[in-house]
């Protein structure tokens, strides 16, 4: 049994213009000690997926299942779910400055995470906070414990967020664009830190990002999301070597690479992500797909294993030989 098994997760928000389905039935699983990367554009539903698993999607109607060690989090009473949050599942957010309380010292914020779930004294929680700050690579933790968030650099702030998330040794860590607000060298450091913590603690990690480079660096498995659905799912190596979905091809082609020849052009994906109030019928990617066929406008593609590789699934109506043919060239 996997650590986290999400099945048929649907999340919708009632709005004045109708029901917005942000997540339209996604399924994935995360093994202990492995990193699942969820990739997609803004608005593809990756963050909402994560927040729903945490029970933090406010005003959302959530259905489906999200089982942590077999226990469905979505049916827990609010107070039971609260006890799970921060203890069994912890989360790190995109913008560490706005995610830290501006009027609380960082040590207090970390110590609070300890005290919410453990019956320890204030002094013990503080000592633990110093220890955690040290573990995530903050120099002089005994001094920094009394710093205000605005006194720290972006990278240090994100380390504080990670320290907070680790306070209760969670089995699953959800990191929602943890490096997006940071500059590149700091990004690398934060990813290394997450990688080290995963290895040391055997945590399962869900890493949400729009950045394929980040995925390539740390993810073991990848799920590609488009318009609220998973369109392709595979081990990272497979996904980069043999992507099956035209959207994934597009994503890969639009990433700048240092090792590519200079004259190779970046190819953007034409068009925009669809409105989730009125998603296109059939395959949701069809309005932007260069290989669209008439049938694709009406038939919804199921997420099915690729022939010969049970760990690689794709939701595309093109048949396998055609895909193989189309994939040749630009991506490889």
């Amino acid at each position: 049994m996997a650590l986290l098994e999400v099945e048929g997760l649907r999340v919708s928000f009632p709005t004045e213009d109708g029901v917005l389905e942000a997540v339209g039935g996604v399924s994935f699983s995360v093994e202990a000690g492995r990193v699942l990367g969820i990739v997609g554009e803004s608005g593809s539903g990756k963050s909402v997926t994560a927040l729903s698993v945490m029970g933090l999607a406010r005003g959302a109607q959530v259905s489906g299942q999200a089982r942590l060690d077999g226990r469905d989090l979505l049916t827990l009473a609010p107070d039971e779910m609260r006890r799970v949050r921060g203890r069994d599942v912890a989360m790190v957010f995109q913008d560490p400055l706005s995610s830290l309380h501006p009027l609380h010292r960082v040590g207090r914020q970390v110590a609070e995470a300890v005290r919410v779930h453990q019956d320890v004294t204030r002094a013990a929680a503080r000592a633990r906070a110093v220890e955690l700050l040290g573990e995530v690579g903050i120099p002089e933790p005994a001094r920094r414990v009394d710093a205000w968030p605005h006194e720290l650099s972006g990278g240090m702030r994100q380390r504080v967020m990670i320290a907070m998330a680790l306070a209760n040794e969670p089995r699953l860590l959800i990191a929602d664009e943890p490096t997006t607000a940071l500059d590149v060298t700091v990004q690398a450091q934060i990813l290394e830190l997450l990688e080290r913590l995963r290895a040391e603690r055997g945590m399962g990690v869900v890493l949400i990002t729009h950045d394929l480079g980040v995925v390539a660096q740390v993810a073991d498995d990848v799920a590609v999301m488009y318009a609220g659905q998973i369109v392709e799912r595979a081990p990272a190596a497979t996904l980069f070597a043999a992507p099956e979905h035209p959207y994934t091809w597009g994503l890969l082609r639009s990433v700048p690479r240092l090792d590519a020849p200079r004259e190779r052009e970046l190819v953007p994906i034409q068009g925009r992500p669809p409105s989730l109030l009125h998603p296109p019928g059939g395959c949701r990617f069809h309005p932007r797909c260069p290989h669209v066929r008439e049938r694709h406008r009406h038939v919804e593609p199921p997420l099915e294993p690729v022939a010969g590789d049970p760990r690689h699934s794709v939701a595309c109506l093109l048949d396998a030989p055609t895909r193989r043919e189309l994939r040749q060239g630009p991506v490889a």
Binding site: R82, S98, V116
Partner: protein
């Protein structure tokens, strides 16, 4: 920080100078206000008027008068003598100060005690009946003119002419040092009447601030840590939501210490507001000037204290 405070203090002085000059000019050029005519009695002879003008220094050009006045204020903290009563303006104002402070302090306590829980509950029960009821009541309280509210309160509840005589009415003020119980009893209605619109305004403001703060990322972080919702609101949300209120509170206290003219007049509380009101009716320039300067002083000082308090409340301001 010291440089900042010094700069701010200089501004205080400049502002007070400007305020004094403007009031001086306004009342000097006011046509109806010939103080000599007021003092001269019913049948003034031109000689008598001239004599009075000379005694008061009114025959000199306005800038000389102003200069003399300011010299007195700065060197001796002397605000001159009332045209109406001949008593020193400074002493009269200081006499009235305890009543004004009593009124203000009590009203502040009342309005905070009302506004904080009401604002909090409204925000937490947004769009439910508790919120609608509270915000409806707040709208009424904000819309009701304070003198009307005062008169209605007197008509309904005052012991002398009320339909339900439960509270002391107008004209019953007793100093705190004389008789604390009578002091509180006499001020109960004025406190509530003065506090009503403030309470409503603060409750609405707190509700709006809290709603905004509760959608901040750091609130989501607190929830993600598993902090119980009650503590999320009180421990994480409330302080950032209240901070802007501190600013306004400081200014409001400053304004009220300069005299709550309407409430003091309706309930005849012998405070600075009442003093100013009487002075204006009698065109008593030194008294008007004195009360205006006094009021302005409280407002600028309150402003200064608020800014300093802000640095204390919000660590980000301190470093900036």
């Amino acid at each position: 920080m010291a440089g900042y405070v010094a700069r701010r203090l200089l501004w205080v002085v400049a502002l007070l100078l400007a305020v004094s000059a403007i009031t001086f000019l306004i009342f000097y050029t006011l046509p109806s206000a010939d103080p000599a005519a007021i003092r001269a009695g019913r049948q003034p002879t031109p000689e008598l008027l001239a004599q009075i003008r000379q005694n008061l220094g009114l025959d000199e050009p306005v800038y000389v008068q102003y200069w003399r006045y300011m010299k007195g204020v700065v060197l001796h903290f002397d605000l001159g003598f009332s045209y109406a009563s001949d008593a020193p303006v400074r002493d009269q104002i200081l006499d009235r100060l305890p009543a004004t402070i009593s009124l203000t302090a009590g009203a502040v306590v009342v309005w905070l005690a009302l506004a904080l829980p009401v604002g909090l509950i409204s925000a937490l029960r947004r769009r439910r009946w508790q919120d609608r009821l509270a915000m409806g009541a707040a709208l009424v309280a904000i819309s009701a003119p304070v003198y009307w509210l005062g008169l209605v309160a007197l008509y309904l509840f005052s012991k002398d002419l009320g339909r339900f005589p439960i509270f002391e009415g107008a004209n019953t003020y007793r100093p705190l040092t004389d008789d604390p119980a009578a002091w509180a009893a006499s001020l109960l209605m004025p406190w509530f009447v003065l506090a009503a619109s403030f309470a409503a305004f603060y409750a609405r403001l707190l509700r709006a601030n809290l709603l905004e703060v509760m959608s901040e990322d750091y609130i989501r972080t607190a929830r993600a840590k598993g902090v119980p919702e009650r503590r999320v609101v009180l421990g994480h949300g409330l302080r950032p939501a209240i901070t802007p209120l501190v600013t306004i509170l400081g200014l409001d206290i400053g304004i009220l210490l300069g005299g709550a003219i309407l409430v003091e007049s309706v309930f005849n509380v012998p405070g600075i507001g009442r003093l100013a009101y009487d002075a204006i009716r009698q065109a008593d320039l030194p008294m008007i000037q004195g009360t205006v300067l006094f009021g302005a002083f409280f407002i600028v000082v309150a402003n200064l204290l608020v800014d300093l308090a802000y640095a204390w409340v919000d660590p980000r301001v301190r470093t900036a």
